[in-house]
């Protein structure tokens, strides 16, 4: 919202108060001022000229050649095309070199052979209105040669208020209210304004019937004889300053009263209304109306409409109907000033996406005593501008409303305790009185009378009064105090601790980069990964079509950026700790099930044909997971094939991670069929492994503290075991056989070679382990190693394999 300082001066003495200083004061005590701009600064460069003479252009019928005195030695010769230019007028002259709005620079020119040194401006060229039918004729007393802004007294500053900071202050949606506030915070005088009801006549009041409680008060004032087409210059300029385009006297006055007192109002052509008069009711099912903006609106029974008889003529508090517009020459007018239910106005305007200056004010909860003041203000201003108007009828004033003015109890001790400052009872009382609150002492308490303008919504409890005192006292004057009290060490938080451990291990030793992703996942991504058919939590108003799904799992978010990573880096290692939501696991109140996960992705160029098997990222990532679980002190790690694997995973290379019997996640290679759908093909062809760990499941498995094992007292012996085995014999079975053959002395078993080649014979593979034999009872020797190999030989033979002796 915009506030004009010149407008404010109609209500409060601002003499000597700089606009920036005013903005600062308001910001510190009342609401946030986001900007301070001069009004129409370009009008300073445009000068008042006096048309000394006007001659027809020798070569053009529609042009005239004017000599214009701008207070310099010689009058300027200016060629002008406006039909209304005449000798003797005061006009606005843009001289050569002046830049007008729209970066329009005035140049010396020849128009049809006649030299022209400047331009006589229309209102539109100066951005003061739409009128381009002729030049702007200035008042006759404008001082020749002065800047138009100064000569007409148009110096003004416009303060831009952050509307959010006015959400709770319906009283500040008009200049009078802001002036009241300025008077309170600066101690300046609020000027008197007649806020009594309107003058009325003896005819019976216009018929008004309220059929819905959503309208608590409705005033109807009949006006006759308003004829002027234009609002006066001062009013038009004030409206322009706060961003309102002047239209005609009646519309401008209606807006002016709204922006002055904060009370919206509406004008109807009284003679066009049904004899039944005004009916305020809820819309009928299926009813529709076309609003002033030309849009056809279908209504719902929750909407409140103003009807002429049964015909809707306005959406209450929002906008009038098309064709209900009044203009100069409307013989008999009906002025509506009413109070509507904030929630009803808000719901309708939100549903229709129709936010107006009027609805913005009604939804803030307007004071029901304000309509009478506004009607009076409207009538008096109109009569001042048009002495010929009359108000022939009695005022219609219907509805059930009560004055919201209220009395609250304030405990001064409570104020001191809440603010932490030493404000005496008297100080508190005087601050409240500056705001127009009545204060009466009653024992230990203050009885505070809250005026109706502040009592509708904002000031309803003791804490609200504390705020009033605090902001007027200025929060900056309050002391600073340390929190005191017993500090209990916060309760241990195993989840947060584990998340930190995981982040540190992965970002450190495993050299992964931590990602934070949006919780939304694109439907398109789900299609690519085969996850489209699952159930998702969805938002009904996504930022973009296709982005309505809230993720179930974190991993797809990483898969979505795999291509981006691979485009710029060979080695892409990403992880994210985050949440996913499962609608099918809804809780008691309907909230979806929440999973807390760690997702890992490792992508890089495919390893060559001859690379050792464990260069594949699947195996390397599994190594990272095992290391991580060891670091988290989780025992009993095992991997079993996951059946069925998730749709994005390799159908075979997908293992469930278990701690004992508890599944805690999975590690898998990306399905080679899915990779191209993620853009990982051609130059970006990649070997991609993924893993997921469920934090909840991990936490369910108790950690064991790593126990100390004595350092071996006896030297062990190292021996290599090489085995030629059938291709389909799992390495794990051979390893188990080797371990068993050690009879408890196999301290370490490290597969260092796996080879399949034609030289071995079809369907064969060769595996080789470094084995460390170590006993707690004696030194093991080569002889022990040989005996061990003998046992291994017999054991693997039973599996159809053979020990290869060096």
């Amino acid at each position: 919202m915009y506030i004009s300082t010149r407008w404010l001066s109609r209500h409060v003495d601002l003499d000597g108060l700089d606009a920036h200083e005013l903005a600062q004061q308001l910001t510190l005590s009342t609401c946030e001022i986001e900007g301070v701009e001069p009004f129409a600064p370009h009008l300073s460069a445009v000068r008042v000229g006096h048309v000394v003479s006007r001659e027809p252009h020798p070569d053009a019928d529609k042009l005239s050649v004017c000599r214009v005195d701008i207070g310099e030695d010689e009058p300027l010769q200016i060629v002008c095309g406006a039909p209304n230019v005449a000798a003797g007028q005061r006009v606005a002259v843009a001289t050569v070199g002046t830049v007008l709005p729209g970066d329009f620079k005035i140049k010396k020119s020849k128009i049809r052979g006649v030299e022209s040194r400047g331009m006589i401006c229309s209102e539109r060229e100066l951005e003061l209105g739409d009128d381009h039918s002729g030049i702007w004729v200035l008042p006759e007393d404008a001082a020749i040669g002065e800047g138009v802004r100064e000569a007409l007294g148009l110096e003004d500053w416009v303060l831009e208020v952050d509307n959010k900071s006015l959400t709770h202050r319906p009283d500040l949606w008009g200049h009078r209210g802001v002036a009241r506030e300025v008077a309170a915070i600066t101690g300046r005088k609020l000027l008197d304004l007649d806020l009594s009801g309107p003058p009325t006549g003896s005819e019976p009041p216009p018929p008004v019937r309220i059929e819905s409680a959503a309208c608590s008060r409705y005033l109807g004032l009949v006006i006759e004889g308003a004829r002027s087409e234009r609002a006066p210059l001062w009013m038009r300029m004030l409206l322009l300053a706060v961003g309102q385009r002047p239209i005609d006297l009646l519309v401008d006055l209606s807006n002016f009263v709204m922006l002055d007192l904060g009370q919206p109002n509406h004008l109807f052509d009284q003679s066009a209304l049904s004899p039944e008069g005004i009916v305020v009711r809820r819309a009928h099912p299926g009813e529709s109306m076309t609003t002033l903006d030309g849009e056809e609106r279908s209504l719902e029974p929750s909407d409140l409409v103003i009807c002429s008889g049964d015909q809707p003529v306005a959406l209450a508090g929002i906008m009038g109907a098309e064709g209900s517009k009044v203009g100069a020459g409307t013989e008999r007018l009906l002025l509506e000033v009413a109070t509507f239910d904030p929630a009803v106005v808000r719901r309708t305007s939100a549903r229709l996406g129709l936010r107006t200056d009027s609805s913005a004010r009604f939804e803030k909860h307007l004071d029901p005593t304000l309509p009478l003041q506004a009607a009076g203000h409207f009538a008096r201003l109109l009569r001042e501008l048009e002495p010929g108007v009359s108000f022939p009828a009695q005022l219609a004033d219907v509805g059930e409303w009560s004055d919201p003015a209220t009395t609250l109890e304030l405990r001064p001790e409570r104020v001191r305790r809440a603010l932490g400052g030493e404000l005496s009872d008297d100080e508190q009382a005087s601050l409240l009185e500056r705001l127009g609150f009545g204060v009466r002492r009653e024992g230990e308490c203050l009885r505070v009378e809250v005026p109706s303008a502040r009592a509708t919504k904002d000031v309803t409890i003791e804490q609200d009064l504390i705020e009033e005192i605090g902001r007027l006292y200025r929060y900056g004057n309050l002391p600073e105090a340390p929190l005191v009290g017993t500090i209990r060490p916060p309760a241990p938080d195993p989840t947060r601790r584990m998340v930190r451990q995981i982040q540190d291990r992965l970002a450190g030793d495993a050299r992964f980069h931590e990602v934070k992703s949006y919780s939304f996942q694109a439907r398109d991504l789900h299609r690519r990964l085969g996850l489209d058919e699952l159930e998702y939590v969805t938002v009904i108003n996504p930022v973009a079509e296709g982005l309505e799904r809230v993720r179930r799992d974190v991993l797809p978010s990483l898969l979505a950026v795999a291509e981006l990573g691979r485009r710029h880096r060979d080695d892409v290692r990403l992880f994210e700790v985050g949440k996913g939501y499962r609608p099918e696991c809804a809780g008691e109140s309907g909230e979806p099930g929440e999973v807390h996960q760690v997702a890992l992705l490792w992508a890089g160029p495919p390893p060559g044909q001859d690379a050792p098997y464990d260069q594949a990222r699947f195996w390397r990532l599994r190594g990272v997971v095992e290391d991580l679980l060891r670091f988290l002190e989780r025992d009993g790690v095992g991997f079993v094939p996951l059946d069925p694997p998730p749709p994005w995973a390799h159908p075979v290379k997908c293992l469930e991670i278990r701690l004992g019997e508890q599944p805690v996640g999975l590690v898998a290679e990306l399905d080679p069929g899915a990779a191209p759908r993620l853009g990982l093909e051609g130059e970006l062809e990649s070997d991609v492994a993924c893993a997921v760990l469920d934090l909840g499941a991990l936490l369910a498995v108790p950690a064991r503290t790593a126990a100390y094992r004595p350092i071996p007292r006896f030297p062990g012996v190292k021996v290599d075991v090489a085995i030629l085995a059938p291709g389909d014999l799992p390495a794990g079975e051979l390893a188990a056989a080797i371990e068993a053959a050690g009879k408890g002395v196999v301290a370490d078993l490290d597969l260092f070679d796996l080879y399949r080649g034609e030289s071995l014979g079809a369907g064969k593979k060769s595996l080789a382990w470094h084995v460390l034999l170590q006993s707690e009872k004696k030194t093991l020797t080569d002889k022990d190693a040989q005996k061990f190999l003998g046992r291994v030989e017999r054991a693997v033979e039973k599996l159809g394999a053979e020990l290869r002796r060096a």
Binding site: T27, T167, L483, N541
Partner: protein, 339 residues
Amino acid sequence: MTDIQTLAEKARAEVAAAADEEALKAIERAYTGKDGVVAGLLAAIPTLDPSERRAAGIAANGLKQTVLEAIGSRREELAAGALAARRSGEGFDPTLPAPRPSRGSLHPLTRVTRELEDLFASMGYEVLDGPEVELGHYNFEALNIPADHPARDSQDTFFIDPEAHLVLRTHTSPVQVRAMERLEPPFRAIAPGKVFRQESTDASHDHTFYQMEGLVIGEDISVAHLIGAMKTLLRGIFGRELEVRLRPGYFPFVEPGFELDARCPFCEEGCSVCKRTTWIELLPCGLVHPAVLRAGGLDPERWSGFAFGLGLSRLVMLRYGIDDVRHLMGGDLRFLEQF
């Protein structure tokens, strides 16, 4: 004798010329080995006149001694030379690049969040968590924002259902009432986390960002306490004392409510960060509204408190000079690698 002396001279010369251990070993073998010169001399003794034998024996052994000593000192010389050569650092170019170990990284949001968590934990604040898909009750009603309240406008909510039974939380404030329900007062708590606003994105706005809620509940908690706590927070964030100011701010769940501005830490005369005002709007805060205390099951006559909301994403951007908020959630390695 002359022969022996000549031989010794020759041996010394050979030793002096030896360039490495291998050459020394060869010389050692040639003189003192089984078939070496000394062995030859000793073998010839029985052929000598008995009167000469003793002297010849002494001479031969003297030769052996001489050769071994020469080899020994030459060996030391070579070792010293080798050490000196290694220490000379010949060819060392201090401007060569070091190999780059691959590394991982913690997200900048994680870094800043941890700093704050540690700071607050040291002052007895619990660190809490709350759901991202939140009940409308906690996001709105319990925070004194009933349906049809105009304050809902500024929330730009993502709705799961039209009745706002479920929403994506628009702030971390829902954790306030959840905390009151869970913890025994008095308590102090913070809750960092992800929040959502349905708005169009640009370099300074994203529909998803991070906040940190703070809540202190006790008896007689005042605005003065709030100011003190916020100054401590700023010292923790910026590492020095910053002037702060409170001005009125409207949030339905606090009363009175404030915007807290801090003196711009980056300039003295106004810069682009503070939009030339020398103040940066840092965090909304206020005393907890009695309706919120009641929603959390606390008696406002007995308990009071303050709450604040810190924009973590914005703080991260300020800290690292990040010019586009969308980098934070973009998953681009070229961004992540920098932390």
